[in-house]
């Protein structure tokens, strides 16, 4: 194992973490402000990917597709909030889980009805194609570097939005005391719709960016959703900062585990078995990390101030 390989794996972990952050940020924002568990977040991720693939195929430009993914996911989010989610805030979490699970099924079958069952084609824009040589003789795909940069930009943008703007102030106020901010004359209903649309847009952005790397198909959101839930549980539910650190921790742990565990085991058992056992152990690793963190800090690394 060379230093370059270890470094490359670290970058891979970082990139996976950034992608998870985009998903988890929206999820945790929605939970923090509205106390809502939104299982349909993965569907909004899928909407973003499909919108990007469809528009990119029609216009030939990934960038127009990317804008379309933001708009489509935000619009779908706002629509869902107005029609369904709005009725769920005062219900308990079981009702929310049931209703948003129903939304997953509706989104999945609706997408299949519109686009068919076969995966769509979405390629990365030519300007971000290929690999670059990094210092230390390391070759790394440009597109993955771009994802890391985009994630960092979104994290910074969210920080500015939440700590420096009026909307951010209202979001923070909504997190700490919902009744009070309503009583102070803030239109809480509109605020909720805006926050939900913002979270949905972030998921849509993640879907479009990742869709170009993976396959754009029905049901693509659910595996990511599970990881995003792990991230926000580790980070502290409702905390954007927690989502960032949780996502990076999960991304790096998962990547390094997949890379190092089989090699470590190969010192003791034959390579074929090491691959099999190591692979299985690596897939459990993030859940073990989650269990350990929860044992020490039951409310996650950065618990939100209230609750």
């Amino acid at each position: 194992m060379t230093l370059a390989l270890a470094l490359e794996q670290l970058l891979n972990g970082l990139q996976l973490g950034v992608m998870l952050f985009l998903m988890a940020a929206g999820l945790t924002l929605i939970f923090g402000v509205m106390g809502l568990i939104n299982l349909a977040h993965g569907s909004l991720y899928m909407v973003g990917a499909f919108a990007c693939a469809a528009v990119a195929a029609a216009t030939g430009s990934f960038w127009i597709g990317l804008v379309a993914s933001l708009i489509a996911a935000a619009a779908a989010g706002a629509l869902v909030e107005l029609l369904v989610i709005r009725r769920l805030y005062d219900r308990d979490h079981l009702d929310q889980v049931l209703a948003t699970f129903a939304l997953i099924l509706i989104f999945s079958e609706g997408t299949r009805w519109l686009f068919g069952s076969f995966p769509l084609y979405l390629d990365i824009p030519p300007i971000l194609g290929g690999a670059v040589m990094l210092p230390g003789g390391l070759q790394y795909p440009v597109y993955r570097l771009a994802i890391i940069a985009a994630g960092a930009l979104v994290a910074f943008g969210l920080y500015v939005l939440i700590s420096r703007t009026r909307l951010g102030m209202r979001i923070r106020a909504g997190e700490s005391d919902r009744e009070m901010i309503g009583a102070l004359g803030v239109d809480i209903r509109t605020l909720y719709t805006v926050v939900f649309a913002l979270g949905a847009a972030l998921a849509g952005l993640a879907g479009a960016m990742v869709g170009a790397l993976q396959s754009v198909q029905v049901g693509m959101g659910e595996p990511v959703l599970i990881l995003a839930f792990v991230v926000i549980v580790i980070g502290g539910i409702g905390s954007i900062k927690g989502a960032l650190f949780g996502a990076l921790l999960v991304g790096v742990t998962d990547t390094m585990g997949r890379f190092l565990l089989p090699q470590l085991l190969a010192l003791f058992v034959p390579p074929a078995q090491a691959g099999m056992i190591g692979g299985a152990a690596a897939s459990m690793l993030i859940y073990i990390v989650m269990a350990l963190i929860l044992a020490v800090k039951p409310r996650g690394l950065f618990p939100a101030a209230h609750a």
């Binding site: 972990g13 390629d123 754009v216 595996p223």
Partner: protein, 378 residues
């Protein structure tokens, strides 16, 4: 008294009418029509129904249900089809884990099962069953063919598959024929979508070839990421990783990939040409390998139904075993374990105009059976 008399009369009349009518052949198709694996199930259904439609046989009824790629759902559907729909034959399951949940119990209840795809080793060897037929292959076959192909010019192979039974069968099958050095044997998570960590290992491994078995969305994700990585090592895999259901989504990243298969759209025999024309006319797309397998499964059932009554299981089985069909694959017959003996080819992904498709390169195995048939005693 009056009531029970009426009931008895009714029962008698129903029984009589049941005797009087010729019982049509009823087939229960359980396949994946929703979720990520739906593309495979839809090709299975469409290939199967094409053969039924072409036959013009009105006596055959097919009931189709979606298993959503969930074993527990497949079991429920199978029970319902056997008990309330009273089907004679079950077919259609794509995934080996679902098949293992359904087929053994279905044959134990005296129903025939004709597999259109899934072919786990467990049902090909000691646990083979007179009522279980496989029209596709045995799971290991296409991987074995790739191992044999890799012997020609590849000295050090990096091999990778998902960590589940078919993934293990895959790498076992590959290694059964491959004689060179294995640089690394990597098992990934089922449904994994990011392969950056594995691609980095490939780059560092010094391998001169890569064998992957990543069906469905996993293969799409891997090929796109591999193409962007700047790693320049030839990739090969079993045909279903590069079949017509995923090629359009992978795009040009798949060009030049070598794969093994029992059929490709460029096969030069009349049955293949007819199948290709009919399928394109009916569904307006190119068929995948799953469609061919299901088409042949339906042809096999039709051939037997023409000569024997399905209620006479032994006679029907004997007709099925003759495999009296014109398969688009060319040579096709059944082995002692009721799995195919067929030719296996290596194909290459090429661009035909705007459409990505597989072109035949060479024949790797002639009349190839499987490694488990010798353990099957019927």
């Amino acid at each position: 008294m009056n009531k029970s008399l009426a009931a008895a009369t009714l029962a008698l009349s129903l029984g009589v009418s049941g005797l009087a009518m010729a019982e049509p052949l009823k087939i229960g198709m359980i396949t994946t029509l929703s979720g990520g694996g739906a593309g495979l199930g839809i090709d299975t259904r469409d290939g199967f129904m094409l053969a039924i439609k072409n036959s013009g046989n009105k006596e055959i009824e097919v009931v189709t249900e979606d298993d959503a790629q969930k074993p527990e759902l497949a079991v429920q559907i199978a029970d319902k089809m056997i008990q309330s729909d009273e089907v004679d034959i079950l077919t259609g399951i794509v995934w080996s884990n679902l098949l293992m949940a359904v087929a053994p119990s279905a044959v134990a209840q005296g129903k025939l099962y004709v597999s259109t795809n899934a072919a786990p080793a467990a049902l090909a060897g000691e646990k083979c069953n007179p009522l279980y037929f496989n029209a596709a292959y045995q799971n290991d076959n296409l991987h074995e063919a790739m191992g044999e192909y890799a012997n020609k010019g590849y000295k050090k192979m990096f091999i990778m598959a998902p960590n589940y039974p078919a993934g293990k069968d895959s790498l076992t099958g590959f290694k059964r024929y491959y004689k060179g050095e294995v640089a690394a044997e990597v098992y990934t998570q089922v449904g994994q979508t990011d392969y950056a960590a594995e691609i980095a290992q490939m780059r560092a491994s010094g391998a001169d070839g890569i064998f992957i078995f990543l069906p469905g969305g996993m293969g799409i994700a891997f090929m796109k990421q591999f193409a962007q990585s700047g790693v320049d090592i030839p990739v090969m895999g079993p045909g279903f990783s590069f079949s017509q259901d995923v090629l359009p989504a992978i795009g040009d990243a798949a060009l030049g990939v070598k794969a093994s298969g029992q059929w490709a759209p460029d096969f030069d025999n009349p049955a293949s040409k007819k199948f290709l024309t009919d399928f394109q006319k009916e569904y307006n797309r190119l068929p995948s390998i799953y469609a061919v397998q299901a088409y042949d499964a339906a042809q096999l059932i039709l051939s037997a139904a023409g000569k024997a009554d399905v209620k006479d299981t032994d006679a029907f089985r004997a007709e099925l075993l003759k495999a009296d069909i014109q398969s688009p694959r060319g040579n096709f017959k059944f082995n002692t374990n009721q799995h195919p003996i067929q030719d296996i080819y290596v194909t290459e992904v090429v661009k035909d105009g705007d459409v990505l498709t597989n072109k035949t390169v060479e024949k790797i195995f002639t009349d190839h059976g499987d490694a488990y048939a010798k353990d099957c005693k019927m």
